[in-house]
């Protein structure tokens, strides 16, 4: 994983396996020291992009990388893409945005649940509410349940998060 000397700056860093996690004790320790020296670069990724094995990204310092992981490996928040004497590259997951919807009654909950399943939305449940992971503009989701919302059978709960 060491970048060969003379690596041109416009050449991709090839990431063909993950070095480890920044939560790992020893690795975390090393990263901490490198952060002081200013040699840790960050790649910020959308949740959706974290599921890809292949992906071209650019770090916050402008270093281009081609991530090309084996099918058995998966990116995660804090994954270390590169770690050598001069430089480290770490993944940061951008926070997933959720749309929180509250059905007014049991029959409304059935309809909302049906819509979410039929549209293959990624959801989680909290109390009687459904939270939808936003992988497209928020309005695109609201448009799909606009009748339920217009009739007051489903309301949008603003989470502020």
């Amino acid at each position: 994983m060491t970048a060969p000397a003379g690596l041109q700056s416009d050449e991709d860093v090839l990431v063909s396996t993950l070095v480890g996690s920044r939560l790992d004790h020893d690795l975390g320790h090393r990263l901490h020291h490198m952060e002081h020296d200013g040699t840790v670069e960050t790649v910020r990724l959308e949740t959706r992009d974290m599921t890809r094995r292949r992906l071209r990204v650019v770090t916050d310092r402008g270093t281009p990388c081609l991530i090309a992981l084996p099918r058995s490996e998966q990116l995660f928040d804090g994954a270390i893409l590169l770690l050598d004497a001069h430089r480290a590259i770490v993944v940061r997951a951008l926070e997933q945005a959720w749309l929180r919807l509250r059905p007014a009654s049991l029959p409304d909950a059935l309809q909302l649940g049906y819509a979410a399943g039929n549209l293959h939305w990624k959801v989680r449940f909290d109390g009687g509410d459904v939270e939808v992971a936003l992988e497209a503009p928020r309005q695109a989701y609201l448009d799909r349940v606009r009748d339920l919302i217009a009739d007051g059978r489903v309301t949008i709960v603003e989470t502020g998060a």
Binding site: E11, S16, T51, R53, R54, L55, L69, H120
Partner: protein, 217 residues
């Protein structure tokens, strides 16, 4: 050079397995035609490619590619999708994953596996467990209002290809308006207009694939 220490030669870094891309879209939009147009381009660029096709209950598209002479027939595998073409690319892509694994094993140094989905509707999308990046192909003859229908395939794909632009004048479609609308519903995500049979803009599609998932050369 018959050097006894070949490990000293700088070996260009190589990923463990091939990149996987998906090509989906409605029946007859030109998915196989796009692959047929891309294969010679990749060959010229020295990129090692294999293909997995998905048909309902036959291997029609695989046979067409094998007979085409533009790819080694052994590099084309067929997966029968049964009645539900979207299931094998999204909910349960096991069969396609196995086919791609098989191609990786058969052809060391393979760089790209193209998976063609069986023709489906505007709602079909690929699981990112199966592919790293995917194209959705719609065509001008399918109607200028397709982008406006905001199908998940059209919205979520990494690259939208609007094919058969040569047919626009014959089917009464205002191509510029269609492309404009497609750009708008996709919030500016990439889009290319092609005519696969005439070979228009195929290089640009190949460039987009290379930029997204392949090692720069």
């Amino acid at each position: 050079m018959n050097d006894l220490s070949p490990s000293r030669q700088p070996v260009p870094p190589h990923p463990a397995n091939a990149a996987r891309i998906g090509i989906g879209g409605p029946v007859g939009s030109g998915k196989t035609a796009l692959i047929e147009a891309l294969l010679p381009v990749f060959q010229r660029r020295g990129i090692s490619v294999a293909v997995v096709t998905n048909d309902l209950v036959t291997a029609e598209d695989a046979e067409r590619l094998r007979r085409s002479g533009i790819i080694d027939p052994a590099r084309v595998l067929a997966v029968e999708a049964g009645a539900c073409p979207h299931t094998v690319i999204r909910e349960d892509p096991t069969l396609n994953i196995l086919a791609a694994d098989e191609l990786d094993a058969r052809f060391p140094g393979l760089e790209l596996v193209i998976i063609e989905s069986g023709g489906d509707n505007l709602a079909s999308t690929f699981s990112l467990d199966l592919v790293d990046w995917w194209i959705f192909v719609i065509d001008v003859a399918g109607g200028g209002d397709i982008p406006r229908k905001r199908g998940p395939g059209v919205l979520q794909c990494d690259l939208l290809v609007v094919n058969k632009v040569d047919l626009a004048p014959h089917v009464g479609v205002d191509l510029d308006a269609m492309l404009e609308e497609a750009r708008a519903v996709r919030g500016g995500s990439p889009l290319l207009a092609t005519a696969c049979r005439a070979g228009i803009n195929i290089e640009a599609v190949a460039d987009a694939i290379c930029a997204a998932v392949l090692i720069r050369r």
